[in-house]
């Protein structure tokens, strides 16, 4: 039996008359790389906010890392990591300050913080940059640091919201190596992306259209299901019918 890390049943969010997320039910398993795709305005961000304990659902059931999204949002926040292209690190703090800041927020003790920072600096090869401002680092290093910081507290699951937007093709691939490494160590990866080739790197992918999950399977099964040769085509097939659009 696979251990489930996220489980939702008819999870719904309404804003007035508008149903942003409409009865989505799905499960994500331990160590899985799960791609959460959809068109702009499909409801991905709203769904993610509920799963991160930042927005109270209107109805339905969901647990994340074993905690209830209605009642145990603080426990959820302590057991997840989060990173996005838009918000990751503080540019005007040094490498070490950022590690300490986020480690502290995630509740690491002073002793753990010390151990973790030196371990992290060593694995990333940033020994000579610890006192440099993050803003001065090349984008690729920033990304790797941001990801490592997001999982510094060994969360059960890490949410990556378009982590590779605007990144060069080589760095983008190195970033996916890090994702696999984390997944192999048992951390569940929940990732959104607009790069359809990255959808292929996920174990399973869900496609959201107009608030509902319209398809969920492994990339190869999805391609079979839609008689498509690439995930690009699967996406077009599903998203073209979107009413909501942007």
């Amino acid at each position: 039996m696979k251990e489930s890390v996220i489980k939702t049943e008819k999870l719904t969010k309404r804003f007035g008359d508008f149903v942003a997320v409409n009865e989505i039910s799905f499960e994500v398993f331990k160590g899985e790389v799960f791609g959460f795709l959809g068109a702009n305005g499909a409801g991905k961000t709203t769904a993610m906010r509920m799963l991160c304990g930042l927005s109270v659902p209107s109805s339905g059931i969901a647990t994340v890392a074993g905690f209830d999204v209605f009642k145990q949002t603080e426990n959820i926040k302590r057991n997840i990591g989060y990173m996005s292209q838009k918000f990751s690190l503080y540019e005007d703090l040094t490498v070490l300050e950022n590690i300490r800041f986020f480690g502290g927020i995630y509740g690491l003790s002073d002793k753990q913080l010390k151990e973790k920072s030196s371990e992290l600096v060593l694995t990333l090869g940033l020994q000579n940059e610890t006192k440099k401002l993050v803003g001065a680092l090349p984008l690729g290093w920033k990304q790797k640091l941001a990801f490592s910081v997001a999982i510094i507290h060994q969360p059960k699951i890490v949410f990556l919201d378009e982590p590779t937007g605007g990144v060069d093709p080589v760095t983008r691939r190195q970033f996916w190596d890090l994702i696999y490494e984390a997944a192999n160590s048992g951390i569940t990866i929940f990732v959104t992306t607009h790069y359809m080739d990255e959808a292929e790197y996920c174990n399973r992918v869900s496609m959201m259209v107009d608030g509902s999950i319209k398809a969920l399977d492994s990339p190869s099964n999805l391609k079979k299901q839609f008689s498509a040769t690439s995930m690009d085509e699967v996406f077009f097939e599903l998203a073209r019918g979107a009413k909501r659009g942007e």
Partner: protein, 305 residues
């Protein structure tokens, strides 16, 4: 229509080189793409050409006007859509459009034909404040505002960043139709798959242009042969391939890995298959593939260090 000669732009008192001796030109009615990641220098080039930044070195002209001397003339003639949404959030859709039309001494009515096709999509929301628009609608409004004075050159800085694949396709179709009306378009994007939609592209990285040509010619100029491979154990395929000393490059590309070899003698395919079978791989698919712009970009990046 747009000419850059050895343009250089630095920040931090010359310590950060954003644009490094860049030269290229864009012909009238051309759809020209600047393709490169964040930090490549795309926005700095746009800001120099739209007279919002002074270059540290070199010269540039837009429609025959010098970007330093004739800046006022350029400003009245070009359209610019910055990467960051820069319209007035507290004005409505219609008010924003009216505002920009008035600033350029024109009216919505006068140039309605040019924006009609795009504007009808947001017209139902013309009384909505810009801040309440969704991302896709903001993008369409910004494009309308950049077009309302019938510019000779249109500068679009990453118009499709963060936009989903379907809306991106629609946006490029709009650009194609604008081009047909004779407007010269300079567009930047970090999405390599959009490169093929341009007439010509410049691949740019860390302030330097690595290659300028038509997308077709850039692909043709790819030296060596590129292959794609997959097996039933993709997660260990990359590592296993790296143990083959004849491997030149190997990286993930969608459901396949793309690879190239140092030496393609008559045995190499057999050698490769033997290694993979020894490591337990089955259902191996291996064949030649045509490089994409992204493959070319990766190759150029590695050869320029």
């Amino acid at each position: 229509m747009v000419i850059l000669n050895n343009i250089t732009k630095t920040y931090n008192k010359g310590n950060t080189i954003a644009v490094d001796d860049v030269s290229f030109s864009v012909g009238k009615g051309e759809l020209f793409g600047l393709i490169g990641p964040d930090g490549a220098g795309k926005t700095s080039i746009f800001r120099v050409l739209t007279t919002l930044l002074l270059p540290d070195g070199g010269s540039a002209t837009v429609d025959g006007c010098d970007v330093v001397i004739d800046y006022k003339k350029i400003r009245s003639q070009v359209g610019y859509m910055p990467g960051k949404f820069s319209l007035y959030q507290d004005l409505t859709v219609e008010e924003n459009l009216n505002f920009f039309a008035t600033i350029f001494n024109t009216t919505i009515k006068e140039n309605y034909e040019l924006i009609k096709e795009i504007y009808v999509q947001i017209e139902p929301f013309k009384n909505r404040r810009a801040e309440k628009l969704s991302g896709g609608m903001k993008q369409k409004l910004a494009l309308c505002c950049a077009l309302i004075h019938k510019p000779t050159v249109l500068f679009l800085d990453e118009p499709t960043t963060g936009v989903d694949a379907v809306s991106r396709k629609e946006f490029w179709e709009m650009l194609k139709r604008l081009k047909e009306q004779g407007i010269t378009i300079l567009v930047s994007t970090p999405y390599m798959d959009e490169a093929t939609l341009c007439d010509r592209i410049a691949l740019i990285q860390t302030g330097k242009i690595m290659s300028i040509d038509t997308p077709n010619n850039i692909v043709k100029a790819y030296s060596g042969t590129l292959y794609k491979i997959k097996s039933d154990m993709m997660n260990k395929l990359s590592n296993d391939l790296h143990s083959y000393e004849n491997m030149l490059s190997c990286y993930a590309f969608g459901e396949y890995l793309h690879l190239s070899f140092k030496n393609e003698n008559e045995h190499f395919e057999k050698e490769l298959m033997n290694i993979l079978k020894e490591k337990g791989h089955q259902q191996i698919e291996f064949e030649r593939t045509i490089p994409t712009i992204e493959d070319c970009f990766i190759k150029l990046m590695s050869s320029s260090g």
